[in-house]
């Protein structure tokens, strides 16, 4: 297991290296990167020249890339000119809020999808199945930002049960987490349903039933546990989607997470923050995918990584 983990972490290195190259190129897509990293329209030509020299943009591109890599390994992702602080700590400071939102959304999704997925698979073609299947098709088509606005309209404006936006108390988390969670829940319900349908037909299920086990034990111990393996795989692939959704949902509900910070940074052309954010998102996605792989061994002890 340790060797497998070590190998997986090593495999992240080329991906991260490529990411540095992509970010390095993207910042220079419009020629002089100085315009992306400093408020050039507010500066005199001399000041621009000074900053350009300070960043090393007057040097050969290859040297700049090596410098850029060197800075990254020291954890230096540039300085935000808007906050006049290093960019990385600013992003990391907002990270817990985004993770909180994503975590609760995932929780909501599982709590909704697990019973629904099982019930719709067991009672195939029932009314519940029809309703849940229709809902999951609709869930695929509903853009999260619109769903968020509609939830605000119903629960905050019309019913006045919940606040429109903000992040002071747990109540503020309900609508954003529900918005993000619903999209995820529809996909998850579909996955669990089809995986359960596959498993229900297996011989060991009949064996388990013929042993006289209760329907409940058969479904949960023998069925669900096996059905979850492919579900977890596909769910792992959704982490990038989930975090992307969080960026949008944060905007709808004025949730002070990383996404909101990055969107603001794009508007003020504060690209140091954007590049730091891109790296943090990539690290989270890679970390979670690794966690999912490790989770397999718990769900299916036959899977061993050595």
């Amino acid at each position: 297991m340790e060797r497998y983990l070590a190998r997986r972490v090593l495999q992240m290195i080329p991906v991260l290296m490529l990411l540095t190259l992509i970010v390095f190129v993207v910042i220079r897509l419009k020629g002089d990167p100085i315009a992306q990293l400093a408020p050039v329209d507010l500066m005199t030509p001399q000041e621009i020249e000074q900053v350009r020299h300070a960043y090393g943009f007057d040097r050969p591109v290859l040297v700049q890339y090596v410098d850029f890599l060197g800075a990254l390994t020291r954890g230096d992702f540039g300085t935000s000119f808007r906050y006049r602080q290093p960019a990385m700590p600013l992003v990391v400071e907002r990270l817990p809020k985004t993770l909180e939102l994503a975590f609760v959304a995932v929780l909501v999704a599982w709590v909704v999808a697990l019973p629904l997925g099982i019930i719709t698979a067991v009672r195939r073609n029932s009314l519940t199945d029809l309703v849940a299947t229709t809902a999951s098709v609709l869930g695929r088509a509903l853009p999260s930002y619109w769903l968020g606005i509609m939830l605000i309209l119903v629960f905050a404006v019309w019913l006045r049960w919940l606040p429109v936006s903000g992040s002071d108390t747990g109540v503020h988390l309900v609508l954003p987490a529900a918005t993000l969670g619903v999209g995820l829940a529809t996909a998850l319900t579909r996955l669990i349903r089809s995986s359960m349908l596959e498993v229900i037909r297996q011989d060991y299920m009949t064996t388990a039933r013929s042993k006289g086990l209760t329907q409940r034990t058969v479904l949960l111990r023998h069925g669900l546990r096996n059905a979850l393996v492919p579900v977890v795989t596909l769910f792992g692939l959704q982490t990038a989607w989930l975090l992307g959704g969080a960026v949008i949902v944060e905007q709808v509900f004025a949730w002070p997470g990383m996404g909101q910070l990055m969107v603001k940074a794009v508007f003020t052309r504060d690209m140091s923050i954007v590049q730091a954010g891109v790296f943090v998102f990539a690290l989270i996605v890679m970390g979670l995918n690794l966690a999912v792989d490790v989770l397999y061994t718990v769900l299916d002890p036959r899977i061993r990584y050595d």
């Binding site: 897509l29 609709l138 606005i149 605000i152 309209l153 404006v157 990038a240 990055m262 990539a282």
Partner: protein, 290 residues
């Protein structure tokens, strides 16, 4: 250079579509949205950008205070919401079709090369795909639009440049299985060039999965485009987009709910139509993808 489908096959497809209610609904929705986008100037009763301060925030016609001249009401600047929804379809259709074309062209080429030649090239492409997939789509698009600046062309380029990876993956997988078949081996044995083999023998075989993927991808791109517009990073005013209408609607959600409902419905119905049609297409052309 896919082989054009013989007419008989097209007719069989059309007949199968008529027998599938869901696929049919999808096809009708897609056709209607396309017609609306093309015929927007004929359908809209008002100029979508015409500001009129004497009629701000009028409710839809069926609510007291509304009028059928402004069937879906007016926004804070007195602009007709229905006309804006009609014109908004244009950006979604253009970006959807163009970005998917860009993405599929890049993705199919890269996938063909990676799958056919394998080796180091495949390994490098694999790492690039992993890298692009490790960053949320919208975050990457955000970063690139941030640098390039928001415009219709940049939006298409960005969504295409970020979206190609799924095509590359699918095509690479298909090529790996197709290239071991006898007719490909035979073509190589009689000395046909690699270029000929790829274009004439392999490409037609990966085309069905690409067509299915591209159809469903239009839905993804339309959602991504309106998300960027919603964030203020899409096509800029005065061009009307559904996403920017939603951003306006978000501000007036407490006082004028119809501003957010109308464009959201437009996006959802369009996307639903594409999904219905795409799912049907997948069942017919490429049942393996289920």
């Amino acid at each position: 250079m896919a082989v054009p489908a013989p007419p008989r096959r097209a007719r069989t497809l059309a007949r199968r579509l008529l027998r599938s209610p869901v696929g049919m609904v999808g096809a009708v929705i897609v056709a209607v949205v396309l017609c609306i986008a093309v015929a927007a100037p004929l359908l809209a009763r008002h100029d979508p950008t015409q500001v009129a301060f004497d009629r701000p925030l009028r409710p839809p016609a069926w609510i007291s205070g509304g009028a059928w001249a402004f069937a879906l009401g007016t926004d804070s600047l007195g602009r007709d919401v229905l006309s804006r929804v009609i014109y908004g379809s244009r950006v979604s259709v253009i970006v959807g079709v163009c970005a998917v074309s860009v993405a599929s062209m890049i993705g199919v080429s890269v996938g063909l090369l990676a799958g056919y030649f394998g080796g180091t090239l495949d390994a490098i492409i694999g790492r690039v795909v992993d890298t692009v997939l490790s960053v949320p789509f919208i975050v990457l698009a955000l970063a690139v639009v941030g640098v390039l600046g928001p415009s219709l062309v940049n939006l298409i380029v960005v969504l295409g440049a970020v979206g190609w990876v799924s095509y590359a993956r699918v095509v690479r997988g298909d090529v790996l299985s197709v290239r071991t078949r006898e007719y490909v081996q035979a073509a190589a044995a009689i000395g046909q060039t690699e270029r000929w083999i790829i274009l004439r023998h392999i490409l037609p075989n990966v085309a069905p999965s690409v067509i299915v993927l591209a159809t469903l991808d239009v839905a993804t791109v339309i959602i991504a485009e309106s998300a960027l517009s919603f964030l203020g990073l899409g096509v800029q005013p005065p061009t009307v987009t559904w996403g920017s209408m939603l951003a306006d609607g978000r501000q007036y959600v407490a006082t004028a709910w119809w501003l957010a409902v109308a464009p959201g419905m437009a996006i959802t119905i369009t996307v639903l139509g594409i999904i219905f049609f795409g799912d049907w297409l997948r069942d017919v052309l490429d049942p393996r993808l289920r």
